[in-house]
Structures are given as structure tokens and as C-alpha cells.
Assembly symmetry: C2
């Protein structure tokens, strides 16, 4: 890629995050002057149930968005319409960056996303994933593959949406050894706990979370702790050099908890939270997702509704706490943009500015 | 500087932070494996009242520390002892990085530190400052000077010690436009407020803060809001592209506040906090330090004793909150180390690793 040519993107998945990403790149773009340096073109979009588009000169993203918004899928009369599936697109299309936006599959151990990422890296193409699967199930393998092919694997959106967790650790904690991380990482389960404290039925709380767009149609992965397990697994692998999969994370969900238990905790000025933690023990990296009763003064206690928080303890500094109050789809889409801006810098070294 | 030669440092100031920095580089170094890539040598230390040392081959830092710890100043029999003052050292010695560790002077508008930094940058030398003065009083001038001489000016320790505030904004929020920042940035005044809430006399609280090492011998700058004003001014200038000095920040201190007012606030389930804020208004960047009565659910309310918190609101994401619970001298010294690690990368491009 030379300096003035756009990075060519292949998007796998075009749900809420993909659509928001496309909106920021098109109809909303002039609202965001800081994106002037972002030079990308989308040459392919593949989905499981909404059809595919491809055009080496760049897909008409406005038209793509309109078709999804009006018809729920790409239309056969779209000149960019294609019957190519994700696996074929990853191995056959000419692109610079695979942007993996499909959803996590625990049952299939991160597949098929892991395979798409493997294919792209094996072809020497960079990868930005907002899907936890590849990083939770195959980080060490994929990182080695990226290094062997001199390309870059980025995943800022995977934990706490676009809140800069990995950039913070990589660029803001140089020289520190991360000893432990803990936090509240799943919006849906924290939302349900917050609402149950106020007397709401968990089923109603889930429906509200779904209406607001942050709970999946099938919320079991959130409520059973699988989403949290995948996220703490990612943090364990990336920040603590662990080698875990979500299946090796000690895991609790919130379904066993009764409204009565939450009310009793409140009477003791405590709150029950689903806390993720990764730590070192006997030379090993371990991770767990557990219900914990925390005092009101604990920094995690005040995380309400869909907020998230992460505490990073290191040998030289800290602990440092990063918190987001009410993430929206912008935050997840932004994480992908931030990764693409970093890729733009890394692949065009002359574009990198010093901090002043 | 070629790849394997150490960065030569000139330290101006050798108080608590300087000594902790020297301890990490020497007696404590093997505790911190992440510092393996840090390749520095201290060729000069100048102080106002503790004497000076210089040695182009590298000062014996263990001996320097021992002299300070046992005699309170460098000893004339030290073979590295020198009578050169800070200004002459900045303009005459051969060094790669000026590390400015002296304390903020409001009365002298950041001098003499601004002049030392100006001298170093004018000679094409990099600067790492833990002293707020140059960034609060002369950021735009110094940044232009750094650019003109192709060198780098870093200042991570200036706000929230080593907590990665500027690295976060620079590397973790690419493409975002910062709209507003607010937070609690002065440890001493927050400590005194926390203790007054519990019924302690402010003078006693100050003495405890001094004994713990985070309040200055003269705490007026903290209690009158000057330290907070300097910090929010730095954030306004660096993150919002402002052009303010601390003298232009609307400022309140905590001295006018009575214990009764704090108790009344607690009865209303509120806390009084000294809140810093910088924002855009009518095309201008403004900043203020004000006492605010915050509800218990406000994210700043739970910052107790010497903790700090900063909220950054942007156009594309957020707001993101960064928090430190109980900073120590390690945190400030670490901020300098982090800047030096970044300088090592920037001045030896081949050393820069991608995030994976």
C-alpha cells in the first residue's frame, strides 16, 4: 500500500456495528473532522443472511445501508451484489484488511471467524476484529501467524467496545508488567442486575436491554457468563500472556440469583456484581467470572445499567481504572475506526506523527 | 543516537520523584523485567539546594542516592561533583534528553523551568517534564520549538502522575475530537476534603498528607487551587488545543469551605469536590476549577483521599473515565519512565514493535 491509496476493507458481518461503521464513513462523516486522515474503501461485505456485495473500486455504502434499512438485506439488482460467501471472499478477494464483525460463537469455539482470520493472515492481510471469538479461542496461534506474515492483528473493540483498553495497555503502560485485571465487562448482565435491584423482573430487564440494542436476540451467552468469560480470556491472553480459551475460565452466570438475594445485599449496603478477573498463580495465568457481593465503596459498585469498568494492576504503576458510563453502538464502531487509523499509521510509517 | 547507545539524560531537580526514579533505575531495577528495553544513562543532575553532579560516562546513581539519603545533598568529595547550575547544564552539557523534575512556580510563571526546556529544545534535545510549569505556561511556544528542531516534548507525569492521560488521548482516541474534560486532579485538596468530612481539622489533614509525601511543604498552591488550575490548563492546551495559562483559569480553592458546609452536604447525600473542567464555548477554550456539590451517584463522588479521576468526552466515543485510587511516588516516576521508553522507540524507529 502506498501512502495515498486507501486501505481496502473486506467486512465480514453487517449487523448493528457494521451499519453504524458504514454510517460514520458516509452520511455522518463530516460531523467528525478527526477522521480526515482515515483513508479506506470497502471492497467487499459478506453476511450469513443478508447477502453479499463486492466491488474492487469500492462498494456504494449509502446504497448498502439503504437496502438493509428498507429491505433487511442486500438486493439482487444492486450492481455490486454477489453470491460469494465469507470464506471464499476471505481467500479470493483483493483487500488489505479483513474487518471481522460477525458474532461470537462459543459452541463452535470461535468458528467460523477464526478460520476467516487465519485465511486473511495467511495471505499477509491485516485483520481488525470486533468479534471476540478469534482472540478468545486462538490468540496465540493467530498472533504467531500475523508475525510470520508481517501483518497486524488488532482487536480494540473486543473488550469495552471502543474504550481504549488494548491501546492503553500497549501505549500507556510501556515497561509495566500486568499482574492482574478485573472488572465488569458484560453490559447485559450488569443491566439486568441493576434492574433486578430495583424490583424489575429479569425477563423484562432483558427485553429492555434488547430494545436498546445491546443485548443479543439470544441473551443466554450474556446471562450465563459466556460473554464475560470470552472477554476475560482475551485480557488474560493479550495482557497477561496467557493461553486460555473461554472453556477454561471458571464461570458463573446471573440466572441462579434471586431478587431476594439482591435485596438482602442492598440492606447490607452491598451490591452483587458479575466480576471478571484474570491473575497469575503458581506461574500460570488463570481467569474467572464470579458473582461477588461488593461494598458500596468498591469502585465496581457504582457501575450501573450498561456501564463497564476495568482495573489493571501492574508492577510499576497503578492500579489504573478505565470506565465507560453508557456505551452506544458508536463506541463499538469507533473501536474499529481506531484500529484502522493505527493500521494506516503502521502501514505508512511517514504518516506517523510524534505526540507533538 | 544509534540503536545500541543509551539515551543520555540530564536531570534538573532531584527531590522525591528524582530519587524514586534513580532507585527504579538502580537498586530496584531487577524487580521490573519490563524495563529491559530501557537504555539510559544519567550524565548530569542539577539541583537548587543539593548540589550538582556530572559525568559524561554516567553518574554513579547509587552513590548519588546514598549521599542524599544520608547527608541531604551531594558531597564535594564525590568525583562527579560539579558547581554547574541548571541553566548552564542545560545549555552546555552533552545530553540527549532533558528530564525536568523541579517544582511548579506560579509566581514566576513557570520559570526557570520554561527557560531550561526552551534551551534544550533550541539545541535539538528532547524533553521529558514532570514539572507542570512549561506545559501550563508555554505549551504552544514549546511545541512549536520542538517541531522546528525535530525533537520531542513529553509530559505524561504532569497530570495524574504516571496514569496514562496523554498516551490515552494520543494513542487510544485516534480520530476523536475532545469536546470536554473534567475531573479531580489535586491529591492534597481532595485528601483534605475527605478528612474534613470525617471531622478532621484541615491543618491536621495537611500534616498527614505531608507525612505521606504527596503534599508540598507549602501546601497553599494545592489548597488555593493553583495546582488544579495548572493541570486543567495543561489539559486544555494539549487535548483541546487551547492557549491558556493558569492565570486565565477561573479558580476556587478549598480554604473558604467550612466543616459545617461539608457535613450539611453529607446530610443531603452529597459531597463537595474541587472539580477541574475545560471545555469549548463560542469558539474558545475555557477552563475552571470550582467547588461543586455532587450527588453520591456522580462518578467523582467516590474519589477519596489522594485518588484522582479524569473524564474525557469526545465526538466519536465516550465519555471515557480514567481513575487512580492511591497514587504513590512510583506513579510519578513511572510517568517519566514511560516517556523515556516512548522516546527510545521514536528515536530508534527499528525498535518499534507493532501491537502484536
Amino acid at each position: 500500500v502506498t501512502k495515498n491509496e486507501p486501505l481496502r476493507l473486506l467486512l465480514i458481518g453487517f449487523g448493528n456495528v457494521g451499519c453504524q461503521f458504514a454510517r460514520i464513513l458516509t452520511v455522518e462523516r463530516e460531523q467528525f473532522p478527526g477522521l480526515d486522515d482515515l483513508n479506506v474503501t470497502v471492497v467487499g461485505i459478506t453476511t450469513l443472511s443478508r447477502g453479499s456485495l463486492e466491488n474492487p473500486e469500492g462498494i456504494d455504502l449509502r446504497r448498502a445501508l439503504l437496502e438493509i434499512e428498507t429491505a433487511g438485506r442486500f438486493q439482487a439488482q444492486n450492481p455490486d451484489f454477489s453470491s460469494r460467501g465469507s470464506a471464499d471472499a476471505a481467500s479470493e478477494l483483493e483487500y488489505d484488511v479483513l474487518v471481522e464483525l460477525s458474532t461470537l460463537s462459543i459452541d463452535r469455539r470461535g468458528e467460523p471467524a477464526c478460520s476467516y482470520v487465519r485465511t486473511a493472515l495467511g495471505r499477509g492481510r491485516h485483520v481488525v476484529t470486533a468479534n471476540k471469538g478469534p482472540i478468545a479461542f486462538a490468540y496465540n496461534e493467530l498472533r504467531a501467524l500475523a508475525r510470520a506474515h508481517n501483518c497486524i492483528l488488532l482487536h480494540e473493540s473486543v473488550v469495552m467496545d471502543g474504550a481504549p483498553v488494548f491501546d492503553l495497555a500497549h501505549f500507556g503502560m510501556r515497561g509495566c508488567r500486568v499482574l492482574e485485571v478485573d472488572g465488569i465487562l458484560n453490559s447485559t448482565s450488569n443491566f439486568v442486575l441493576s434492574r433486578m435491584e430495583l424490583g424489575e423482573h429479569p425477563d423484562d430487564a432483558v427485553r429492555i436491554a434488547q430494545a436498546r440494542g445491546f443485548a443479543e436476540a439470544d441473551p443466554r451467552h450474556d446471562l450465563e457468563g459466556w460473554d464475560s468469560a470470552a472477554k476475560i480470556c482475551v485480557l488474560a491472553n493479550v495482557l497477561l500472556d496467557g493461553d486460555l480459551t473461554p472453556l477454561e475460565v471458571e464461570r458463573e452466570g446471573i440466572l441462579a440469583l434471586s431478587a431476594k438475594e439482591l435485596r438482602t445485599a442492598r440492606q447490607e449496603k452491598k451490591r452483587v456484581k458479575l466480576v471478571c478477573r484474570a491473575w497469575r498463580e503458581d506461574g500460570q495465568v488463570r481467569a474467572a467470572v464470579k458473582l461477588k457481593k461488593l461494598s458500596d465503596s468498591h469502585p465496581f459498585s457504582r457501575i450501573k445499567e450498561s456501564g463497564g469498568i476495568l482495573r489493571i494492576a501492574t508492577d510499576l504503576m497503578g492500579p489504573i481504572i478505565v470506565q465507560q458510563e453508557a456505551p452506544t453502538l458508536y463506541d463499538t464502531a469507533y473501536g474499529v475506526l481506531n484500529d484502522l487509523l493505527l493500521l494506516g499509521i503502521k502501514t505508512r510509517p511517514s504518516a506517523e506523527a510524534t505526540p507533538n
